[in-house]
Subunit: 340 residues, 3 copies
């Protein structure tokens, strides 16, 4: 494995192997395997979990890591091809990424969606361009439309919680938020849940349906795994017998790139804040999941986050284990000769 861009690029065996390796690493976290090896982390956007779990992960495997923040402590990075660079950014990724590939044994990139052109964001142009420029193994640290580290960690969490694959009822629900958020996590999670073989329901208000391209990928994944995917705005129906309610806000795809229209649409649904009542029709021990960070009492009430249903801390804990599995798979494979 030289690229970890999208869980859907992996076959079932590869996913099973990573999950097994992650559990082994959870049980015995400290190794010496990556001694002298370096992970380069490029963050075009803020991070807490991804930053620190990758840094701890490399350290626990015997290696180390560094962080580049273009536009802050480092030069701004231009990502468009053919551009005349007379504006803000001093450096082009066409130089920066090959250069950093010479200093690191693997690279990771966080590059959020532009949020103005849905078709462009669905193509994930920065991730595609940058990962193509890297001459070392490469990890998607959350891109415009994907977050495979989160998806794989969530898969492990579902396994750890004993949520059934076949017959498991998984609800991804839109939630309120003061800001228009990217589609990366909901897109990654709906496909992961379908791929895991569960019966997946996307619960969202009118206008917040995930883009057809995203839903189609999830439906296809369900087709292979024996799961199913449906959409609804009927909360009671969606949550009937649910094992998991995964909450996440995202901007309205129907008003993408029109902040005023999108804001008005979002403002109508501030009541989409998960509380204990949401779980009335669900399975008795139904769990609450969220990728974090989460705005308390906007997305979800304290009573849920602080209660026994919440799996959010466990989800984040699994980020560390699955990412270490990914790093090991990438760097044990890679010829050390590549590293100069």
């Amino acid at each position: 494995m030289r690229r970890f861009l999208d869980l859907e690029h992996l076959d079932d065996e590869a996913i099973a192997r990573l999950l097994k390796s992650a559990s082994d690493l959870e049980a015995r976290p400290i190794r010496d395997t990556l001694k002298g090896r370096v992970l380069g982390l490029v963050f075009m956007n803020p991070s807490v979990r991804t930053l620190t779990s990758f840094q701890s992960g490399m350290a626990q495997l015997g290696g180390s890591s560094w962080v580049v923040t273009p536009g802050a402590a480092s030069w701004g990075f231009e990502t468009r091809d053919g551009v005349v660079m007379n504006e803000g950014s001093a450096e082009h990724v066409r130089e920066a990424i090959p250069v950093l590939s010479q200093y690191a044994d693997a690279l990771g990139l966080r590059c959020f969606a532009g949020g103005t052109d849905l078709a462009a964001d669905l193509r994930d142009p920065v991730l595609a361009s940058v990962s193509g420029l890297a001459s070392v193994p490469f990890v998607n640290l959350e891109s415009a439309i994907n977050h495979p580290c989160q998806a794989l960690a969530d898969w492990k969490t579902l396994d750890d919680l004993g949520v059934p694959r076949a017959g498991g009822r998984f609800v991804l629900s839109w939630a309120a938020h003061p800001k228009p958020l990217p589609l990366a996590v909901p897109s990654a999670v709906v496909t992961m849940a379908a791929r895991r073989g569960m019966d997946v329901t996307v619960l969202r208000p009118e206008g917040f349906g995930l883009p057809p391209e995203v839903m189609q990928t999830a439906v296809q994944a369900a087709g292979f795994s024996g799961g199913s995917v449906q959409e609804t705005d009927d909360r009671a129906m969606a949550l009937e017998g649910a094992h998991v309610l995964y909450a996440k806000s995202w901007q309205a795809p129907t008003a993408y790139g029109d902040p005023n229209a999108e804001g008005e649409l979002r403002a109508k649904h501030t009541d989409w804040c998960v509380d204990e009542n949401w779980f009335t029709p669900a399975a008795q021990d139904a769990r609450f999941m969220h990728c974090l960070p989460v705005r308390r009492n906007i997305v979800v009430r304290d009573e849920v986050l602080d209660g026994p249903r919440s799996a959010v801390v466990q989800q984040a804990g699994n980020r560390l284990h699955v990412q270490k599995a990914v790093l090991l798979e990438m760097l044990e494979d890679s010829d050390q000769e590549n590293h100069q």
Copy 2:
């Protein structure tokens, strides 16, 4: 030891053990003890010494560290309980700290005083909340009202300099400054000096007396150690026979949270800038101490800082040694099983 929040939480034996360990680490700095272990450092405020001495300390002990800066490269952290998070901060410490506890073997937090509500700052609410949320050993990297790493380093410096405990005359003097500064260092230092058994004088202009709660803690510490604590605005009297003059600016507790009144009060005392004349009544080899950073020729004249009395660089050097002792005590104690 699972928490290092306040020197006053430690008994005499524990302090003696840390000081002994710090001297051992000064003599033989590089170890392999914390191989594979990770320290997570959360800085809500700027840092030079604390940041770099903890990073060097972990590295010299065989481990590593990472840094989170909420509101800069990382999401802003909300610290108030029960709040509706519709404003700036995207993440609550109620999630962030348990999550980071899964990635690190120990955590440290810097959280300066709010500076508007003295009663609140004296309760040190952010430190209390965050340290309570951590499931791994925890270090106070300077909080609203305390700075135990500085206090312990200063204790070691006093030992290194041969300043007597019983009969040692220690003056903590207020000094001029263009900005209203927190009470953390003066509060930590006055209690440390009293605890060490010295005769402590707080020298400050009218209106700048340390809060009664702080003085009471120092008086109590002196009661146990055989030291004493007094306050005065009479410079000559304070410095009579002094072994140490420890300068530090702090905002006027009598005008706390009223920037205009506080600024006017502070502006009256720009002549409180330590120069060689201050030392006329002191012991001949009296030393100058300051926690750094220090504004030259505002707090203290170049002639003092660049002269033989100054112990400020040595004080900062001891930060490294005592902090490594704290880390060793915390992490050698801690069950490695805690770390996952």
Copy 3:
């Protein structure tokens, strides 16, 4: 070697030894030599290559590093002597650097030119002051008027490319840019090229001649090595038979510190953007070099950067190897007793 401030401080034997060591490190990058040793990096300005190549370099040698960014995550640093510090900066380098010297086995500093006073920038006052305050080995990470890590990496690249020393024709050309850039790289590179024994031509429009002090240093270096140095604004003549075209923008020394006049002067020469036509009179396999970051289609056209002439990625790759050679030379030499 305790200081790496300027390539011209090294004799031929020392340069040859560093280049040999760099090639060895390129062939066998991972060592254990600097286990437990720490490099402190102080960046007063942004960085990509310098930051990450030093962090990777220390890690590959078994050590570690940390980063201080004064004025961002750390207190601002005052560098002027004798100043009354009632303005922005909270900390003076007269304390900060001795303090950091206690935490690190070596220090590096990046401090760009002020850009307003040419005579001052030519004296490199911040580098001189800070390097004098460090009690541990010290590396110039690019100063007002020098960049020895870049110069040494470029020397290695010229060797790797097989560019002849005697008889090698090296052209340093000014190029267009939207901003007035420092003189550090052109100054370091012109002297390096002369020192390497090549025939060096500085190609630049009227008003952009490098300062006499810089040219004089280069001429002196050529005198020792058997090379030569000339200046011209005639592109065809400069590039006749050239083996290397090294492009770099810099602000007009004739209008230094006068942004309006300098901007007007620079605006006249936006056609100084290197394209394939520039190479018509050059040697057939002439190479293009640049220190990066480079503004595409302002300084140089995509056709050159993306074509076979470009050595820019290789240049940056050599930063890692030569810097590791410098670190080894400094830290294998240094008495470990210095480190406390």
